[in-house]
Each structure stands twice: as structure tokens, then as C-alpha cells.
Symmetry: C2
Subunit: 551 residues, 2 copies
């Protein structure tokens, strides 16, 4: 017998030919090569040696006819679950890479998510409305991609970073529940796992407050995890203020699959002559349960880790609270066992635990401690990809002060409403104003974010003032929105999810690239079609443009 | 009693206040104006005078509480089904125009279509795969919109005119059924009812021939008409070759809600001394049933109609076949009753019918006769917007010869497969090759079109040669596609529908603008947000561009 593995989108089926009895077919099969496209006729039979690992493993097809529909050259890498092809090669031949099961499964999962999301939203009265892609460039936020107009010389469209303004106008138009799964664009500086085009699940509701929005999209989230991943999220999602998230996790997108929250030690440990502590603005630590037997080597590696530029700590203080109740620390010179016991108690540590402490500038130390916590989470196996821990982070600051330009920037965007109680502060102490904004974080990944919006033209105008817009600038950029608010705008709010990121989280992947059929590389280049690329001079001429390349 | 009409997305509800008993509420209602946004509490009661025309007409709400959530200035036009606002004003305040019932109903219909299409395709195993928006400019077809890259100086992305190449690559990748509802872009010269961005229902299938594709999308079409318009299309859609469509209707998108097909009279009427006929390449006519009593005035208007530049005939010959069997024609000087009887018989006319005849250059006359037929269809009430007559037009020519550039162009696109029987002609007589292409036409509107594609790298290369590409050009533009065909490409084909047009047809509208939430005007301008618009010089500089505006 000769056997052939026939692969299609749905799996692999075994074809069988009796080499002796079917000489013509046998001759034909000898012409076949990997990835040939064939058409066959035959009889389905139960297999003698079954492969229970695949759905079609119990049957085979005894061939009676075979046609070669198309031949194939030898692919540049093996088309198997584990391939020998490097990233660049697989991207260049993406149409071959897409044949591999793991990639296909990712795109199928993304497809199913899309269908589920749309039906869920439709069932709840949300209207899918397409907003324009050719819009207007605004200086706020990230950099826009622009599109020169041929008809209107010297003028440009911009590609949307989000349909924000249009969805708000839909609320003004009385479409009280809107959603769209929509491509968005950002011409950002290149960074790993950034795509110049990405997809957003964009939603907006009128006549709602924060709790209405959170309840609605908590529902969507639970539904998706249930139908796509068979994960039941029965509990209400916990909520954490931005301020608490920073104090407890040093991050506005904490991974709460595990605890190990920060304990502040500043007052407790200062004034004992240890200079590193005494000169620090902030001293904080985490307690790694049961890790007191961590080796010298492991601790050294951890110290190297915290000293990396992206972590940014100067050094690491450890305290081993041994099983026998004794202590061993990197600061034994300055602190005795009694003092270390006080630390351990204040951090809720038990014998067998390891305390890891960082000190320095508060902002930097919180960030370093966050990285250290995640690293320990990884080392201790606390970040299981099949466990999903959702969290709402709420009450973000409305504004961020930028030293360089000496002005406030909107932390989310200029249309975010302040929390009602903080409205007065907008005049007296803008930095303290909380935004009525929220993020959905799962496993430390920011899946989405949104806010209750400003719906009052006076407040919107005031907001632009705070952001340093002149009246003229505000009018030129967003006059149509402030004007729209004059004609009966309802209170409204919404949220937008990163579809790529959500799909990637659900698929258990680290990169969004693997849930995108034709992604661009880290240099924003499509290496398969070789884009971007030069265009003809007459195209440029028609667009009233000239190249102006600096050396 | 005071009554207030409260409007939301779902309709109008009557609020009632007892003016005497509820003085504070009465005072509040006097503050209200048109389009104010309010929140009310009250009790639902059966109305004494019912309005059975609206779903909420049997009830009213007796108010107990009223809060003004936002005021409204007086809108620039009335927000009613029939508005006094002109096109330009309504576009500038589109968020107010969208509040009108007819516009809202159009967008709701479009939403429902989207949901139905996606679920129908999903149920049949089609995968929704997003293809990139930032792709590569190609000189073939309509003009591309381009997007300058900041990172890659002097290079550009292009916005897709369709995801054609990507969906074919998905077939090569083994995703045997693909669909997507996707924005496409064309920088065409401005024309009424053109939008620079439009939405396509884009589909592709592998291992199919033409009949598989037609059967699949005939199914989708029937389903949509049934669920959206409650129209049962029980019959198989008729099919007409391009050649027949041109001979019978003078159009490749005939409206077959009515007959009135063309009859060729050339041989019959020539040689009788009437110069207009004797010098004509083609003479053809239509028979308007029961219209013999058409007045002189109506016939004069019809003559004016056919002389319009967009129709382009020199004049109109009419023959009235009166009820009494007599004839009256505009060519009585040249033809007697006996001769006119022969014409009438050859055209299948009966007493009471009106023959309308045009003569001249064949191509122009076919086109003029087509316009005349449609006009008569309108005048005779044969084009009912609630009747839907679907038609497949098949066997298009593969190539069109362009005199100016002295080369062939692909009538559909360069990836369209020739009909198998015509493959040989590609070398001997390319103009005669038929494409394995098809259009879905309903009521004279081309809803969609597609083809079986070339899946063989040799044939694709040959096609580019016929289109006058050098090897180098073909390689530079489409090398990745021809390369993909080397690695086991299956036979495949597909179709793309104009979603805007389809929605507009279903909504009974004449313009696609009315099914688009935020359309651009005929000058490709969004007058609401005022786009396109100039951008900052530093943006241009970052993009390595300079304006080069000719006076």
C-alpha cells in the first residue's frame, strides 16, 4: 500500500492506494510532491491502524482516481506545526505560513470572536455603523497617517486613530447604542509588537453612567470567554482605582492572577544608617511565598534583572525568612534579626518566604517593583496562560503634565469627562482632577479602555483651554463637535477594545502579529508585497507633491 | 393637559402633564424647546385618543418628574421625515440629519444586512479574514490613494481598491472560503453618487467553478431579500451572456423588470431612400405596448430626451400602430403602411403599440436605445421599486482595446481567468477571448461582480504580457502573486458586492449617500468636519514631502 496525507483547511485525511492492483494510480502518486494540489475520487473505509489523535484518524480513502490540479515547488520552509522557517522568511511567504495549523487556528479563533461579538451586540440593540476612514488630521494624540488629496491641491485627509468623534456624533444623532469592529491607524515610532494598522471593537452608549458601561462590557467579556474559551467568569470583575493600582502593583494594568502586592516600608526602615534607604523617596517590597530557599545564583540573576535599563533599579535588597524562623538578608550589616522580623510581620510574611525590596525615586521604584513582581510571578509559575483574571481600573487622572512643553495633556483624550465631584478642581488644581475613565485589564494586558464623555459645549471648551488650545485652534479642529453639543447632546460614554490584543490573549499568544493574516514587521513594512515602495513621479505630480528627502 | 412628544431611536412617546394639578412640572415644560434632551419619570396610561399609526400611539406617560439633561439651540432645519434643509446644510449638520426617521431607518437596514450576511457566510464555512489597508500602489485599474511613509523616506503605501490579491493569497494559503465586509478606496474623477471610500462584501472560494460561485451567492441574495425585504425569490436567477445583453438591452446591466427588448431592423428598413437609415451602421427599435395614443407633445419630449448628450442619438423615429390597424409615423414620407406593417410584425407589435426606432453607429445607438428603453419603462410605470428582478450577466470579454494607448486593458482585472474554451484565442485573437466572469444585476443596478481567477503562474505571466507589461514590471508589481502560484495554488474564484449600493437598492433609494452615515459630497469633501484640509508644515517635513502646487 502507498499512503498519502491529504491536507485541507479542516484537517488531514489519509489516502490509500494498493500499489500492486492500481498500477496507473501508483505511477501517478510517484509524480506527487509536497504541497501539490490534487482532486481525488475514492471510497471511505475504516482504517486498520487508527490514529485517534486526529478527527479523521479512524478512516482512510481507497483511491480510484487522482488528478493533479496544480504542482508545487519545494516550499522555502516546512509547513508543519513547528516550522524551520525564521520570522522574516515566514513573513515573506506568508501565504505558506498561513497554511500551518497554529496560524490557521488563530485566524479561525479571531473569526469566531468577530461573529460572537457582533451577534452579542446586535442582540442588545447596538447598531453597527461604519464611520469614515478618510477623515481630518488633528495635532492631538499620536501621529496621523495622512492621504494627499489630488482634487484639493495641498490638502490632506488623515486616517483615523479611532472613530472617537464620529461615535460621539452618532450619540448626538440619537443612535443610543453603537458599535463597530474597525481598522484604526497610528504612525507611531516603531516598537516591538506595534502595528501601524490595528483593529478596534469600538462602542458607545447614550444615557448611561460608568456602571452601565462596565456592566454591559463585563457581560460581553464573560460571554466571549465562555463561548470561545469555555471559561466561566462567574464573579463580578474587581475594580481598582488608578491610585491603588499604582500603590499596590506599580502599574495601571496589573496582572492580578497572583497577589504579591507592594508593601510600603519607607518609614519602617529609614533612620538606621543604611544610606540607600535613608536617601530614598520610597522603599517598598514584595513577599515571595515559600521562596526563602532561593539560591545565591538565582538572587544574583534577579539583581541583574532589576538593574536592566528597562527595569531601572540600582540594586535589590533581599530578606530570607527561613523555615526555622532565622533571617538571612543582603543588609545584615545594618539590620538585626529583630528588625527584620518587624519588616516581615509588616509585610505579612511567614517562615519560608522571601522578601524582595527596592528603594529610590518613587515613580521609578514603583515601576521597577512592578517588573520584579511580574518576573517573580513568571519564576513561581503564577502566570498560567489558561487562567484569566479580569480587572477594571477606574478613576484615572484626567491630565498629565508635560515638563518639556510646560502644558497639560489629556491622559486618555480631550473628550473624557472629569469625575463629577472633581469638576471644581478643573479650575483650582487641574492635576488632581480624576477622569471618569476606565480600562479593562486581563492578566496584565490592557484589553480596552473608555470613559464617560463630555457632552456639554461649555465644559468641552474649558477642557481645550486647560490643554492649552487657543479658542481659534479649538474651533478649527473640533468646532463641529462643540457645535454639535449645542443641539441637544445626551450624556454618553463608551469603550474601545483592541481586537488584535484580545484575540492574541485568547489564543494564548505573546504577539498580536500571530492573529493578523498579513501583518507588517517591526519596521512597519509588509515584506511579502514589499510595501511601502516608491511611486511614479506622475503620481506625485498629480498629488501636487515633491519629495523632499534630507540626507 | 400639556403634551410633549418625546423622541428616541425607537420612536415617539407622548408625555402628558395635568397643567392645573402639576404646576411645578408645567413651569418646567414651558422651558422646553425642540430637540431638548430630557429624563422623565411617570406612569404609563392608556390614551383616550389613540394614534394607531405609530407603535406607541395607544399609550401616554403621565409625568411625575422631569429633568433637562441638555438644552438645544434651534436646529438649522426641521428634523422631520420631510425636511426643509438643503443637501449641503444637511451634510454640514449630518448629526442632526441622522436624527430624521428615513435616514435612521436606512442605517438600521444596513446594520441588519451586515448581521445577516455575516451569519449566512459563517454558517456556510466562510472565514472572515481582515486584509491590510496599507498596501502597495499598482498602476493598473483606477487611481490609488497613497499614504506617505514617515519611516521609509520617499516611499508610500496605497489604500486598497479591493482586497483582490490578498483574498487570492488566502486561497493559496488553503482558506478555501473567505469573506469580508471591507472599506475600499478609489481616487476617481468626481462624478455624482461616487464616494472615494466605499464598502465591499468581498468573497472568495477555492476548488470551485463558475456555477458553484453563482449558486452560493444566489443563495445569499435570496436569503437577504427574504429576511430584509420579505421578498421570496423562488426561481433560479436567469443568465444572459454579455453579447446577448448588449444586443437585447444595449447594456451589460439590463433592468429586466420589463421586456421591451431591442429588435434589429437594419436589413429590413435600408434601401428605401431614407438617408438616415441608409447611412446607419445599425437600426434598432423597441415596442412600447399600448402607447400608440402617445401625444405629439410626449413624442417631442422623447425626441429631446434621446438628443441629450448623455443619450446621444441624432433623432427618433416613431411608428404608431393604431388600434384601428392604421399607422402614423415620423417617416410617412419614405415608408407606406404596408412597409410599416412589416416592421411592426417583425417587432412583434400589436395594434395600439408604439414603435420607437433609433439609427446610427452601432455602439452609440445601442447605448441610446438602452437609455430610451429605461425612460419608457419609467414613463410606463414598469420600474416598480418594490419589484426585484435579478440577473446574472456572464461571459464578458476578457480584454478591451484602448485606441489611445494602443494596448489591451483587462475588462475586470488582470487576474480574471479566460473561459477554458477560449484559451487558444489568447495568442491568436485576444479581443475575442471571453472571461470566466459574471455580474449580479438587479433592476439595472450592478450589485456585484466576480470571476474565476487564474491560478497558474504561466498563464498569469502570459496575461501580463498581453496587457503590455514587461517581465520586469509584472515581476515588480505582482511577483509575489506569481510566485505564490508556484507553491500549490488551487483553482479559485469569487465575487465582490457593493454593500452601499445593495443597501441603497434594498432601501428603495436612488443614491448610495443615504445609506452612509457620514458620506462625502460630490467633490470628495466631508463638509461636516471640513476635510480634506491643509496640514502643518512640520508634518509635511516629517514625511519628506513638499507641496508643489501648479497655478
Amino acid at each position: 500500500m502507498t499512503f498519502i496525507d491529504l491536507r485541507d483547511r479542516y484537517g488531514i485525511t489519509q489516502l490509500a492506494i494498493n500499489t500492486d492492483e492500481q498500477q496507473e494510480l501508483s505511477r501517478q502518486t510517484r509524480e506527487l510532491g509536497r504541497e501539490f494540489v490534487i482532486q481525488v475520487v475514492g471510497t471511505v473505509k475504516e482504517r486498520s491502524s487508527k490514529n485517534m489523535k486526529i478527527p479523521t484518524g479512524e478512516i482512510e480513502i481507497i483511491l480510484s482516481q487522482l488528478t493533479i490540479l496544480n504542482k508545487s515547488a519545494l516550499p522555502p520552509f516546512t509547513i508543519e506545526d513547528e516550522t524551520d522557517g525564521g520570522e522574516e522568511l515566514r513573513m515573506k511567504y506568508r501565504y505558506l505560513d498561513l497554511r500551518r495549523n497554529p496560524v490557521r487556528r488563530n485566524l479561525e479563533l479571531r473569526h469566531r470572536m468577530g461573529i460572537e461579538i457582533r451577534n452579542y451586540m446586535n442582540d442588545r440593540g447596538f447598531l453597527d455603523v461604519e464611520t469614515p476612514v478618510l477623515i481630518k488630521s488633528t495635532p492631538e494624540g499620536a501621529r496621523d497617517f495622512v492621504v494627499p488629496s489630488r482634487v484639493h491641491a495641498g490638502q490632506f485627509y488623515a486616517l483615523p486613530q479611532s472613530p472617537q468623534v464620529f461615535k460621539q456624533l452618532l450619540m448626538v444623532a440619537g443612535y443610543d447604542r453603537y458599535f463597530q469592529i474597525v481598522k484604526c491607524f497610528r504612525d507611531e515610532d516603531l516598537r516591538a509588537d506595534r502595528q501601524p494598522e490595528f483593529t478596534q471593537i469600538d462602542c458607545e452608549m447614550a444615557f448611561v453612567d460608568r456602571d452601565d458601561v462596565l456592566a454591559t462590557f463585563e457581560g460581553l467579556t464573560k460571554h466571549l470567554f465562555k463561548v470561545i474559551r469555555q471559561v466561566e467568569m462567574t464573579e463580578a470583575f474587581p475594580r481598582l482605582s488608578y491610585a491603588d493600582a499604582m500603590e499596590l502593583y506599580g502599574s495601571d494594568k496589573p496582572d492580578i492572577r497572583f497577589g504579591m502586592t507592594f508593601k510600603v516600608l519607607t518609614e519602617l526602615v529609614q533612620g538606621k544608617g543604611f544610606k540607600v534607604f535613608d536617601e530614598a523617596e520610597y522603599i517598598g517590597g514584595i513577599c515571595a511565598e515559600g521562596m526563602a530557599d532561593y539560591s545565591r545564583k538565582d538572587l544574583d540573576k534577579l539583581t541583574d534583572f532589576v538593574r536592566r535599563p528597562q527595569v531601572g533599579a540600582q540594586g535589590l535588597v533581599y530578606v530570607k525568612y527561613n523555615e526555622d524562623g532565622s533571617f538571612k538578608s543582603s543588609v545584615d550589616k545594618f539590620f538585626d534579626a529583630e528588625q527584620l522580623k518587624v519588616w516581615a510581620d509588616s509585610m505579612g510574611a511567614k517562615p519560608g518566604d522571601l522578601l524582595l525590596i527596592l528603594a529610590g525615586n518613587k515613580k521609578k521604584t514603583l515601576n521597577a517593583l512592578s517588573e520584579l513582581r511580574l518576573e517573580m510571578g513568571n519564576r513561581m509559575g503564577l502566570r498560567d496562560k489558561n487562567v484569566f483574571a479580569p480587572l477594571w481600573v477606574v478613576d484615572f487622572p484626567l491630565l498629565e503634565w508635560e515638563e518639556e512643553s510646560q502644558r497639560f495633556y489629556a491622559m486618555h483624550h480631550p473628550f473624557t469627562s472629569p469625575v463629577k465631584d472633581d469638576l471644581e478642581l478643573l479650575n483650582s488644581d487641574p492635576a488632581k482632577v480624576r477622569a471618569d475613565a476606565y480600562d479593562l485589564v486581563i492578566n496584565g494586558v490592557e484589553l480596552g479602555g473608555g470613559s464617560i464623555r463630555i457632552h456639554n459645549d461649555g465644559l468641552q471648551k474649558r477642557m481645550f483651554e486647560v490643554l492649552g488650545f487657543t479658542d481659534e485652534e479649538a474651533q478649527e479642529q473640533f468646532g463641529f463637535l462643540m457645535n454639535a453639543f449645542k443641539y441637544g447632546a445626551p450624556p454618553h460614554g463608551g469603550i474601545a477594545f483592541g481586537f488584535d490584543r484580545w484575540a492574541s490573549l485568547m489564543a494564548g499568544l505573546d504577539s498580536i502579529r500571530d492573529v493578523i493574516a498579513f501583518p507588517k514587521n517591526n519596521a512597519a513594512r509588509d515584506v511579502m508585497i514589499d510595501s511601502p515602495s516608491p511611486i511614479h513621479l506622475n503620481q506625485l505630480d498629480e498629488l501636487n507633491l515633491k519629495l523632499n528627502i534630507k540626507e
